[in-house]
Subunit: 225 residues, 2 copies
DNA sequence: GCAAGTCATATTTTCGAAAATAATGAAATT
DNA sequence: AATTTCATTATTTTCGAAAATATGACTTGC
């Protein structure tokens, strides 16, 4: 892997996890020290991240971490529902054995990791997050549209930025059985019940969005620091 | 404007217009000579373009112009219809006076330029293309979603790559009155007839897609050269 | 004849310094 | 006191060379 790719992965992770806070200016000298490389690979990574809207930049004044806002979060969630409902419909219409197997496998993996990650260490948390991502990707992997899959990835990452502070807290959302939602979604999809699956998917995301909004309204400093 | 931004604009234009043919390897030394700058700003531009899928890259083997294909074109058009129908619905629901005025103004400008560009020089062609872009943007500018607007831009540029070879030909699509389609679309939108406007929009794009497919099937070398 | 290794060349990637521009603050002016 | 001017410093942007890696031709052994 080249240094530019390393820089891209590291910056992306640090932005999503809020290690680099929203709005924070990213100075080349600091980044160079932090990630142990020269300016060139960092600038390449920052340009990619800018195209993905995880960082902003103004010519000759450098880069900053892209800010977060409630309005943006709702836009992200709404657009996500649009993209993923379409992708899910297409997958149900077109998906074959491999697609079905992928869902079963991803759900199984997610359930296992979810049971394992009770009081998550950072590593366990990361594994759970990867499995969660893998499951939602598996659902729509049969859609046959590279644009829908790309937009899914973009929106997933953006949503993760909002979700991350929430994941750090213990015992939150005890009123909600997220794995049951995943199982029901999986079941409706495999039964090829398009409308039910789309409804469950939308409700799944909207619940999370409402929860994030409540959390952020209660403790906004967690995001804007 | 920095050199990196100049490089980005120039590369993007040359890729969209097919001056740099799909699939063509982009060697740093060549680009440096062609655009009159060093490697650094070029690499930054290429990284941004890669994130936008206009170029592809393999580590240590450099960049290439992203290829085109019929399957990709249909994916682009279908996704475009999804995105723009949603954005149009939202605009009709939310748009105010400024949005309406923007449509009227953009349509007027498009009509004028369309009449002017009979046997287009390169400059006239570019102006017409900009007005066309401006009109379609104006229709959905009231949607209030930065994600939908970004995806619109991405898909518009990608579609332009397929459309460009067609624009170069004379007397094509004489069976079609494109400006009448734009006018009807504009009218339905301003009348806030959501379903009609969405239908007209989809039909507008699908006609273009079918035409491109016919052209490319007849003369595929224009694209793959 | 053909696969595997080896060297020379071409190309990408990265660095460190130089150039260009912005930000800061002190002195001068109104 | 407020504003402008100017030098100083901080920071981004760009270059040119060096390092790392891939490519292709050539040899060697089988």
């Amino acid at each position: 892997m080249t240094l530019a790719e390393t820089a891209y992965d590291a910056l992306r992770r640090d932005i999503v996890r809020g290690v680099l806070a929203p709005g924070k200016p990213l100075r080349m000298a600091q980044l160079s020290e932090r990630y142990g490389m020269g300016f060139s690979p960092l600038r390449e990574a920052l340009n990619r991240l800018q195209a993905e809207r995880l960082v902003t930049s103004i010519a000759l004044r450098g880069f900053s971490v892209a800010p977060l806002s409630m309005a943006e979060m709702w836009d992200t969630i709404n657009t996500r529902v649009l993209i993923e409902q379409r992708a899910l419909r297409l997958s149900i219409a077109l998906g074959g054995d491999a697609w079905e197997a992928g869902i079963v496998s991803a759900l199984h993996g997610l359930m296992l990791q979810s049971a394992r990650t009770v009081d998550g260490s950072a590593d366990e948390q990361k594994l759970l997050e990867d499995r969660h991502h893998g499951f939602h990707l598996a659902l729509i992997a049969g859609c046959g549209s590279s644009w829908l899959l790309e937009f899914f990835q973009r929106l997933y990452v953006e949503a993760e930025r909002y979700r991350y502070p929430m994941l750090q807290q213990r015992n939150v959302e005890h009123h909600r059985d997220i794995q049951a939602e995943h199982a029901a979604l999986s079941q409706a999809t495999l039964a090829r019940d398009v409308d039910l699956a789309c409804d469950l998917l939308a409700e799944h995301y909207l619940r999370t969005a409402r929860f994030i909004e409540a959390q952020m309204t209660a403790a906004p400093q967690a995001q804007t620091a």
